[in-house]
Each structure stands twice: as C-alpha cells, then as structure tokens.
C-alpha cells in the first residue's frame, strides 16, 4: 500500500507544519510521499524558518516534494523574477503593508530556491498543483462550474487533480457527461458524433497554516484511489487536550510527542 | 603474349614497378585469369573467357536512383564468400559506401582513390562490387583493363543502347525513369560529419527538398546524426511515392560531436545549392544545445527491450 500526504497553504506557520508532521508519524500506515502544493511561505516572520525546516528534514522524515503557489508567485513579483511586474492581487487582498512584510519575511536567496521549484507534479494519473495549469491563482472550489472543473482536468489529461488554492478540503467528482459534436470543413462535412467523458475528480487538499490552531491536509492511496481528509488541532492546550482525548479512547499512543 | 585485342598489361597498375623490373614469369602472370591464375587459351576475343562466368569483379551501373546499391546488397546477402565494395566517384560524400558498411560489417569497403590497388590484389575467393555513379563514364579506366562482369540495373523496357551494349547482364529495376531524371545535370554534395541535426527541422527540410522548394530534385540521399544519437539514412527517388527513412545499425553517439560519416547528396536540375546549404545549417544544433540534449538523453532510464 502506498500513501501520499498532500499539504498546502502552510503560509509560514511553523507550529502548524510541525503538528502535521507529528500527525503523519502517528498514522497506522507509513507515508511514502509527502507533497507540499504551494503557499509554503507567507507574510510572516517565521517563513524563513519554515523554509529551512522543509529543506532540511530530520532523520526518519520524508523529504517533501514542493511546488510553487500563490504566495511564492507574489515573492517572485516583488523580487523581479516573474513575468508580471506588479502585485495588484496581493495589495487588494491583504493591503499595501503586506508588501513590505513579505519582502522582509522572505530573503532573496530563499526566493531563488523557491524559483527553482516545480510548477506541479504529474504522478500516475494525478496532477498535483497549487491552482491549476492555468495558473497559481486559479481557485477551484465546490462552487466552480462542472464544465470549468472538467476543463482543468482535461488540460492535463488527469483523472485526479489535487489542488490547494482555495484552502478547502473537498472532493468534486464528475460522473458522466456527453456532448454531440459535428464538424464542417472546406472539403467535408462530418456526421454528428456523441463524445462522452469518463469519471474524474478535483480534490481540494485543505490548508495547514491559514487558520491558527487548526490544520487540514489530505491522504491519498493511489492503489485503491481513496482520499481521506485529516483535521488536526494544535498549539497551546488545544493540541494537548486533543492528544489526551485520543489516548483515553485508546486509539493510539503518540510515538514522538512534542507536548 | 596474346595478340587478341590486347588489354594494357597489368604491370602498368602495379605501383612502384616499371616495365624493366618484370621478368618473364611476371609477364606470364600478368595475363593470368584473376580467378584461376592459369594462362588462358583464348578461343575468341575475350581474353579471360574461360573464367568469365566466375569473374570476381562485378561492375554495377544504372540510372539515377535505379537501385544499384539495393541490387548489390541483395548479392551480399546471398554471397558465401568474402565481399569487397567500392564506389568510385562518390567524392567526400560516400553515402552508399557507409550504408553498406553499416549493414554489412563483414564487407570490406574501400575508400575513394584506393579501388585499383585493392582490385588488383584481390584475395582469392573474394568477390568485388564496383558501383558506378550515374555521372561516371562507363569507360572508366580501371574497368577497361580489369576483367569484370558488367551489370546494368535498368527499368523494364528502357532502351538506352549505351548501357545495354556495355552490360553483360541486365537486372530489372522497379522504377521507371522520368524525362527529368534522365536529363539530370546537377549533383550537389555536402559532408556533414560532426553535425547533430534537429529531427523535426530535418523533416521540414526534407519535405521541402523532395517537393521542389530548392529545385527539381530527382534523387536525394543522406546519412544524418540526430540529436538522440542515432544515425539515419534518408533516401528519395522522384519516381517513388515516399522517401525511405531507416536507422543505421550503429551505436548511439552521445559524447559531443559525432566522429563518423554523415552527409547529403542531391541530384537534379536548377538546384539552389546556397539555399540548400543555408537551410541545412539552420537544422544543425549549436555546441551548447548538443551538450544539453545529450545529457538529458543519458539521464533517461534505459528502455527495457520487450
């Protein structure tokens, strides 16, 4: 059995990341691959520590595979290594002050490393990416239209698209579809043909660091095509209480408790 | 010595030996049949008639693209003895010779300019094929003095008297010549050793070449080293519907510029040699690109044969 763990939206939240790593160690089945689908950094002073933590896993920890996300793209814009020259979205969403916060939080050397990250991963029949192949800012949510979801899957010819831009955990399954197509060219006229679509999914993998005290992430078994969403609470007494509750219920003992 | 339509004595072709150095037995030897080494009795005008059927030198001529190399390769496959091959007149672009060498490593392929020496000193039991390009004079000097069996590869019903009169044997080609192929005047050749070609660019160039973008091309052939390290043979004759592309059975070259033969030969009329040369150059990869792609290919896992 192979298990992939997928995280996104850490946004420089080191405590959240540590909590997720600890939770991964507690899983019954060993995790084989760890993917971080963008938004590793954020406009927080912990971002640099987080990057170093990700780049240097401890003994016994899996080396994460990381792709770039929206926050990384804002860093690229600020440091002049993006195709865009301005960051209007950043200012619109978070205010002009955030520009300086982000500039101070992520040094140039780290931006160079972030620039070297993949845009996404294609593993087996799954695309793992921050937004979609359209861009890091392409936000797929449960409210996205079925046709648009299908378009994003078709662009990369994937059966599963794991994404993190929205920060939500969801499983959007397209069951069946059809459309009748006819083409006329200069030289011939084709009879109408019915085109169908096979079942495919878009999965939002959640976010680790956006909501203080609560992290969500996703486990996936490609062998049986099974998705499992995980929610953990961490930080101060919250994390300790949750662990004691689980111990009392006899679920499992934490191996390397940090509390 | 015989007086029947005397061919020039062979001693003239023994390099480094003058007439005075020959002794009587050498004179006798010089008129031995190359096959059986016995002084012949001449029943007629054919000097080596008793061994004519078993002459070890086969000269092959024919029209542009009539299939001379193909005919020779069929003989090589069927041959039980050692084979020698040469293609005089191919200059610095001996495409057919390299094609033969790649497909038949056991054949001894002789370089341009060394044909005479090897043909005179042919090992007993070896058969030699001499392919004559369409542009060569059929009365080429060494064929005039060396006994050989002459084969013309011609289309069915082709009435050229010169070739038919010259030949001892006619083999039927599958191709019918067009008037343009008969009138072909130009021959362009370019060695490309050391160049690595972008395959997609080569496809575009080859389509343009064979469809007339650079003149009326009747025949085109080439050996090219591609970016993935493979060596390919391209073959076009105007009467064929499609070109033939075959990979040569050579090891992949993935260490810098290839140090083996590649080149192109184009025959036809009103050929724009400058445009051909420029386009070919545009298909060649720069040094840094060669290094980049070779590293990429070497890093790929090897294909497991099925």
């Amino acid at each position: 059995m192979t298990i992939w763990a997928m995280l996104s939206g850490i946004e420089g939240n080191l405590a959240a990341y540590e909590a997720v790593l600890a939770d991964l160690k507690r899983q019954r089945t060993e995790i084989d691959e760890l993917y971080i689908l963008g938004d590793l950094v954020g406009a927080t002073s912990e971002s640099e520590d987080l990057v170093q933590r990700v780049r240097s896993p401890r003994r016994g920890e899996i080396e994460p595979q990381v792709c770039a996300g929206w926050w990384e793209e804002q860093c690229f814009i600020l440091h002049g290594v993006s195709t865009q020259s301005e960051a209007p979205e950043l200012i619109a969403k978070y205010g002009a002050d955030t520009v300086k916060l982000l500039w101070d939080a992520v040094p140039h050397e780290t931006v160079k490393w972030l620039r070297s990250l993949n845009f996404g991963f294609f593993e087996l029949d799954s695309l793992l990416i921050h937004g979609s192949t359209v861009g890091v800012d392409d936000e797929l949510t449960p409210k996205t239209s079925p046709v648009q979801m299908l378009d994003r899957l078709m662009r990369s010819d994937a059966n599963n698209l794991f994404c993190g831009r929205s920060g939500l955990t969801f499983e959007y399954e397209l069951h069946q579809g059809s459309v009748t197509v006819a083409v006329t060219t200069l030289d011939r006229q084709q009879e109408p043909i019915v085109n169908t679509v096979s079942p495919r999914r878009v999965i939002g993998v959640g976010n680790v660091g956006r909501s203080p005290g609560k992290a969500t992430y996703t486990l996936y078994d490609p062998g049986i095509n099974h998705v499992e969403f995980k929610t953990i609470r961490y930080g101060g007494t919250g994390f300790k209480v949750a662990q004691m509750a689980r111990s009392a219920q006899g679920e499992h003992k934490p191996k390397n408790s940090r509390v | 010595m015989s007086g029947h339509g005397d061919p020039p004595p062979l001693w003239q072709y023994q390099f480094g030996r003058g007439e005075q150095e020959w002794e009587e037995q050498d004179w006798k030897k010089s008129f031995w049949c190359l096959t059986c080494k016995v002084v012949p009795n001449c029943p007629g005008n054919d000097y080596y008639s008793h061994c004519m059927a078993n002459l070890p030198i086969i000269a092959v001529a024919g029209l542009l693209g009539s299939g001379k190399t193909h005919w020779i390769s069929q003989q090589i496959v069927a041959a039980s003895q050692s084979v020698l091959y040469c293609c005089p007149g191919s200059g610095n672009v001996p495409i057919d010779a390299h094609w033969i060498a790649a497909h038949f490593p056991q054949v001894k392929v002789v370089d341009e300019g060394q044909e005479m020496q090897h043909l005179i000193d042919l090992d007993p039991g070896t058969i030699a094929y001499v392919e004559l390009g369409f542009h060569l004079d059929l009365a080429t000097e060494f064929l005039a003095v060396l006994p050989c069996h002459k084969v013309a590869v011609l289309p069915p019903g082709y009435e050229d008297n010169e070739l038919r009169n010259w030949a001892d044997e006619v083999s039927e080609s599958k191709l019918t010549p067009t008037q343009n192929s008969l009138d072909s005047q130009q021959l362009i050749r370019s060695p490309l050793e050391g160049e690595v070609i972008d395959p997609a660019s080569l496809n575009i160039f080859w389509d343009e070449l064979t469809q007339g973008a650079y003149g009326d091309v009747q025949r085109a052939k080439g050996i090219f080293d591609l970016v993935d390290g493979r060596s390919f043979h391209f073959d076009f004759v105007a009467q064929m519907t499609e070109s033939k592309f075959t990979e040569l059975p050579l090891p992949r070259w993935l260490d810098g510029r290839p140090q083996r033969f590649s080149g192109i030969e184009v025959g036809g009329n009103r050929l724009d040699s400058a445009a051909i040369a420029q386009t070919l150059q545009d298909c060649c990869l720069a040094e840094e690109m060669i290094a980049y792609y070779q590293e990429q290919i070497k890093a790929q896992p090897e294909e497991i044969p099925v």
Binding site: V147, D151, T169, F170, G177, V179, V181, T184, T185, P192 | -
Partner: protein, 270 residues
C-alpha cells in the same frame, strides 16, 4: 444581417484585396477582423491602412501583440528549430518595416469583440496564443464558448477554417466536503458553435487560396468561403522585399510559413 468575418491577413495585401472584393460581391453588411494583420507577409503597412480606412472592427492577434510588445510568440507554437528561426526572421523583418502609426493602431486593438450572442477572438477567449483545433476535446471546446456567455464563438489563429457545433452538452457531478451534506450538480448546455474563419493571407489547408466566413445573424447560416487570388504577386513581393524566399514557396503550397497549430492544452511557460 449578413456579416463577413476574416482573420490572419499577415501582411498579404493581394489576398486581402481579393477577399474584400468577394465580400462585396456577397453583399455582406458588416466585416469583422480577428487580428494578425501583420507578420510573415510583405505588405504589413498597406494591410493595416486598408483595415483602418474601411473602419473594420478588429481584435488584436498574437502577431499584432508581439510586434507591439516586442516579444516573440510562444516557442511552443514552433514545431522545430528551423521553424523557430524562420519565425524570428519574419518577426525581425516586420519589426523593422512597420510604420509608427501601424504599431500604434495594433496597440489599441481590443482582445475581443461582442455582438449580441456572438463573440469574436483571435485564438481563444483565454489567450491569443491558444489554438482551438477542430478535434480538441469537445468539453474543452464547450468550456471556451461558455466562458464568453455567447452562443457562437468566432476565432482564427489556426489558419484552417471549420464550423464545430456542440449540442446537447450535459455533465453530472457530486461534491463532498467534511461536515457538509453531499451536493449533486448537473449541467446542461444548448447548441453552441465555434466558427474558425481560417486565414486570408497564410492559408494552411493545402491550397494557396484565401479563406473567410459569411454568417447570417437571422438564419444562423454559415458559409466557408475560399477565394482565389494572384498569390504569385505576393510570392514575388516576399522575395523582392527580402523575406525568407522559402515563404514564397510555402505560400504557393498552402503550407504554414513556420508556426504550426498544436495542442492547446500544453502548459505554456511564457
């Protein structure tokens, strides 16, 4: 109303002149142009001047954008190194030969036009560089039309004209979220169409003739028009003006000069 829609003139004044004559003969009341007025061909300024003088509504094409911005089109468009070199040579020549007023005109062109239930773009609603080929996945094609809110999407860019109808589109989905009740979704779309108007100046359908489309807004009838013109004049001008002479031969064969329409779903890194 009968309208004529054309695209991809690429500096081919002879072809444009013949097409306008044909449009006139078919009594079209309106003309719309889908861009790529310049690039590859020998008369970019004359073409733009003609479009301006006739006040033909025009969207900006990928070549128009490249000449304005000084960028080369997406490398993914070129099928080979040779094609890319030729494309760059054409870009250089065009850049050096267009007048300032031509460049200004191209810079002002909109990315799309809309008229009632009709939408007009150069490549696709998402990008001037995206090729909407006739065999692209049907749902992908449907998404392109739906994203405009129109019933008919006119496009160019591929240089091979076609009409593609997408009828009775339907899709079913379910959405699961932790702590939220499962939701069932269904989608249905009525008839939508993509009409690719081909190319006036650089046809790629195997013949040198110019192509464009006539559309009747009342009957919704589409006519793919193919117009013969004296392409040898354009070929002669290509050579005389110093453009790569291979362009003249390729035009006469009805082949692309360099770029080749390719899978639109590739990830463009530009």
């Amino acid at each position: 109303m009968k309208m004529a829609v054309m695209s991809c003139i690429h500096g081919n004044y002879e072809a444009l002149d013949s097409v306008l004559l044909d449009i006139n003969q078919h009594h079209a009341e309106k003309i719309i142009c889908l861009g790529d007025l310049v690039g590859y061909g020998p008369h970019p300024n004359a073409v733009v001047e003609m479009i301006r003088s006739l006040d033909i509504p025009t969207v900006q094409g990928c070549w128009d954008e490249d000449i304005v911005e000084g960028l080369n089109s997406c490398e993914c468009s070129y099928p080979s190194m040779l094609a890319e070199k030729r494309g760059k040579a054409a870009h250089e020549w065009t850049n050096q030969n267009i007048q300032p007023e031509t460049r200004s005109f191209l810079a002002e062109l909109p990315l799309s036009l809309r008229e009632d239930n009709l939408c007009f773009v150069h490549g696709s609603p998402h990008s001037q560089h995206e090729y909407l080929l006739p065999d692209v996945n049907a749902f992908l094609a449907l998404e392109r039309v739906l994203s405009t809110g129109a019933d008919v999407l006119f496009c160019g860019h591929t240089h091979v004209p076609y009409v593609r109808s997408l009828n009775a589109g339907e899709l079913r989905a379910t959405v699961k979220q932790p702590g939220v009740e499962q939701e069932s979704l269904s989608f249905a779309a009525p008839l939508k169409r993509i009409i690719n108007v081909g190319s006036v100046g650089e046809p790629r359908h195997g013949r040198p003739n110019a192509t464009y489309v006539l559309y009747d807004t009342e009957t919704e009838e589409v006519t793919l028009r193919e117009v013969q013109y004296d392409y040898q004049k354009t070929c002669a001008a290509i050579v005389e003006k110093g453009l790569p002479s291979i362009f003249a031969w390729r035009l006469a064969q009805g082949l692309e000069y360099a770029e080749k329409a390719d899978d639109p779903t590739h990830v463009c890194e530009r």
